[in-house]
């Protein structure tokens, strides 16, 4: 088992003819993901790489292909519309890779997607991968390997780093999920922890957080109250100076809320093993 995606995932790629969309569509196909179609308005009827059908609208694509998942690689100013279009077409899982989506757009997208009953991952996220089964997004397939550990992270390349070190140590993954670093995102730590707790194949969970906000603290409480499986965690930004923004909109420290120290303390107080370095995740999982 795995969470959110597996062999039954039938994927659309919104923006499949763009630079990033086409590159990653090929990477996902190569990994074995069932990419059943692409969406680029105005290119309906054409084929991507002479095999995958392209549609003008998500609605048309769903009707023709039975897609249940979509991944979005459109420019930031069009991303909100792409997410809403997918939700309205009945897609169950929407993964938005696009970085730079205005946060006020997300205040409209979030309730819309909820009302339609879809799950949104991202925006500004690397997507997810269930090793050996399916990958949706941009996480490099070769750094992952199947196994019993679930991973959820707010970061992109830091996730790769940790997964890579786990794989090197022979610790495989059920699913690796990058929830993204934006202030408003569709899926949070708790959603993923809940899914990992319910997944019979996941034996333990790794949680990678960052400075800013209180999502990690709330997730830590959830771990203590609702989870039986062991959880280990890492927080990036232990040396970040207060009050500075470090790239991600999510990585803002305001006042005392959201520092790495505070989050690591919340982990410790709620029985989550705290890794000081990324490599320590591996040591903690061994215990």
């Amino acid at each position: 088992m795995s969470i959110f995606i597996d062999n039954s995932t039938r994927l659309l790629v919104q923006g499949i003819t763009g630079r990033d969309g086409s590159f990653h569509a090929r990477q996902m196909m190569e990994y074995g993901t069932h990419v059943v179609g692409g969406v680029t308005p105005g290119k309906g009827g054409q084929k991507f790489d002479e095999k995958t059908p392209i549609f003008n609208t998500v609605e048309r694509a769903v009707a023709e292909t039975g897609a249940n998942t979509t991944v979005i690689y459109v420019p930031p100013m069009f991303a909100a519309d792409a997410m809403m279009e997918a939700a309205d077409a009945g897609i169950a899982l929407i993964v938005c890779i696009t970085e730079g989506v205005p946060v006020l757009d997300m205040t409209r997208v979030y309730p819309f997607v909820k009302e339609k009953g879809a799950r949104l991952l991202g925006p500004n996220c690397p997507g997810l991968i269930s090793p050996g089964k399916s990958k949706v997004g941009i996480i490099p397939g070769r750094i992952c390997t199947p196994g019993p550990i679930g991973l959820v992270s707010r970061s992109g390349t830091l996730t790769y780093e940790v997964v890579f070190q786990m794989t090197r140590a022979g610790m495989g993954q059920t699913t690796c999920v990058g929830i993204g670093g934006d202030p408003i995102n569709g899926t949070n730590f708790i959603d993923c922890l809940e899914a990992f707790e319910a997944d019979p194949e996941t034996e333990s969970v790794v949680m990678i957080g960052e400075i800013g906000g209180t999502d990690e603290q709330e997730a830590a409480k959830f771990v203590k109250e609702k989870m039986k499986k062991p959880v280990v965690g890492f927080i990036a930004g232990q040396t970040a100076p207060p009050g500075r923004r470090m790239g991600h909109a999510g990585a803002i420290i305001s006042g005392s809320a959201g520092t790495a120290a505070e989050k690591m303390q919340a982990f410790e107080d709620n029985g989550i093993g705290v890794a000081k370095r990324p490599i320590d995740v591996v040591q903690l999982l061994r215990r």
């Binding site: 989506v101 970061s155 830091l158 890579f164 202030p183 990036a236 790495a260």
Partner: protein
């Protein structure tokens, strides 16, 4: 993006919010002339992207044009939180009866724009939130409908018992919400919102932070950026599409991705070093970005060693390798460099580096240790 008080006030004025008049001066003589024009007592306020201006001596009353000149002279010599004051706002002093706080901010928890209002204004709202939370009313706004009049009135009555004042405040809140949305803001604040002895409700201060992601579609807002009020290295980095923050250490860091960049800085510290900066070259890299990154980092004389930590996903490590080769050919390095790269096109990258006399590592901890020992002259 931060904008200045005087710019935010203009946005508020355009939205119909009552804001006192004011003019900008960049010299003491200009400040004196403006004070003379208004007559009476004026307030001289430093225009700088930092909170706590008052405490830092950046806001002063002046009873005469001559005093305005003296005060402006002093304020224009100030540096507040490392930022030199280059402009002051001169505005007539208002008679104040009461001071309230009105702010709207995008809230991660409720995933909406949320109003925060308090009758205890004029001071740090975080202090009010900590010590007397009952004095703050929070109100999330449904983005589909905007702030309805009855919602604004509820907040108006939380601030004032008098219906006339409550109504005036409610109107200001609706205007503020409209300005907030129109400007693509992530925060807009009036602190204080005052009442005068004549019974008027007026926005005495204005603060606005614009979501950087909005700037592409809001050119008139993007034009408000004041590069002269930012650290030059950070302006340079932004123009090169890099995220850069200068710190006090001596290990210069070039990393792809914000999370990995922070984790790299943490590891530098863990092994006994101090990072000189946060620098994220972002996702789809090209060699040009690396050239710019190296230029910005080597401009800092305190950098004693440079550490590249690249985990290629969307970023192609051969692009990074080419960038390092190009940059160091243009400007030979005077400090040692440690390169760690792994991921997409790693084999090509390693070959490029080797052919040009560089060695590269694949393990993050080993690379950080080496960079720290080169920077400090001690084994990490």
């Amino acid at each position: 993006m931060n904008i200045h008080e005087y710019q935010a006030k203009q946005i508020f004025r355009d939205a119909g919010i009552p804001v006192p008049p004011g003019e900008i001066a960049s010299t003491a003589a200009q400040a004196e002339a403006i004070a003379r024009k208004y007559g009476g007592t004026v307030v001289v306020k430093a225009q700088v992207h930092a909170g706590g201006r008052g405490k830092a001596g950046g806001v002063k009353l002046a009873k005469s044009p001559e005093e305005a000149r003296d005060v402006a002279e002093k304020i224009l010599r100030l540096t507040i939180k490392d930022l030199p004051v280059q402009k002051v706002l001169v505005t007539p002093a208002a008679d104040i009866d009461t001071e309230a706080y009105v702010g709207v901010i995008v809230d991660r928890a409720s995933k909406r724009a949320v109003f925060m209002v308090s009758p205890a204004g004029g001071i740090d709202i975080e202090e009010v939130a900590a010590s007397t939370p009952e004095k703050i009313m929070r109100h999330p706004v449904d983005p589909r409908y905007g702030l309805q009049p009855y919602e604004a009135m509820e907040m108006g009555f939380f601030l004032y018992d008098d219906v006339k004042k409550a109504r005036a405040a409610a109107k200001i809140m609706q205007q503020l919400y409209a300005a907030f949305v129109k400007s693509g803001a992530s925060l807009a604040e009036i602190n204080p919102l005052v009442t005068t002895p004549a019974g008027d409700v007026v926005a005495l201060d204005a603060k606005m932070v614009v979501d950087d992601n909005e700037l592409d579609r809001l050119p008139q807002v993007a034009a408000l950026r004041d590069e002269s009020s930012e650290a030059p290295s950070e302006v340079d980095a932004r123009n090169a599409n890099l995220t850069f923050i200068k710190l006090d250490g001596n290990v210069g860091c070039v990393v792809n991705g914000a999370g990995l960049a922070m984790a790299t800085m943490d590891l530098v510290k863990y092994y006994g070093g101090e990072p000189a900066n946060f620098l994220d070259i972002g996702g789809s890299s090209n060699p040009e970005k690396v050239v710019n990154a190296l230029r910005i980092i080597t401009a800092d004389p305190s950098v004693k060693a440079i550490l590249f930590n690249i985990f290629g996903g969307i970023t192609r490590t051969d692009d990074v390798a080419n960038g390092i080769v190009t940059a160091t050919k243009q400007n030979p390095l005077t400090v040692p460099i440690v390169i760690r790269l792994t991921g997409t096109n790693e084999e090509i990258a390693l070959r490029i580096l080797q052919e040009n006399g560089f060695s590269a590592m694949t393990d993050m901890d080993e690379a950080v240790k080496k960079a720290v020992s080169l920077a400090t002259g001690k084994a990490a």
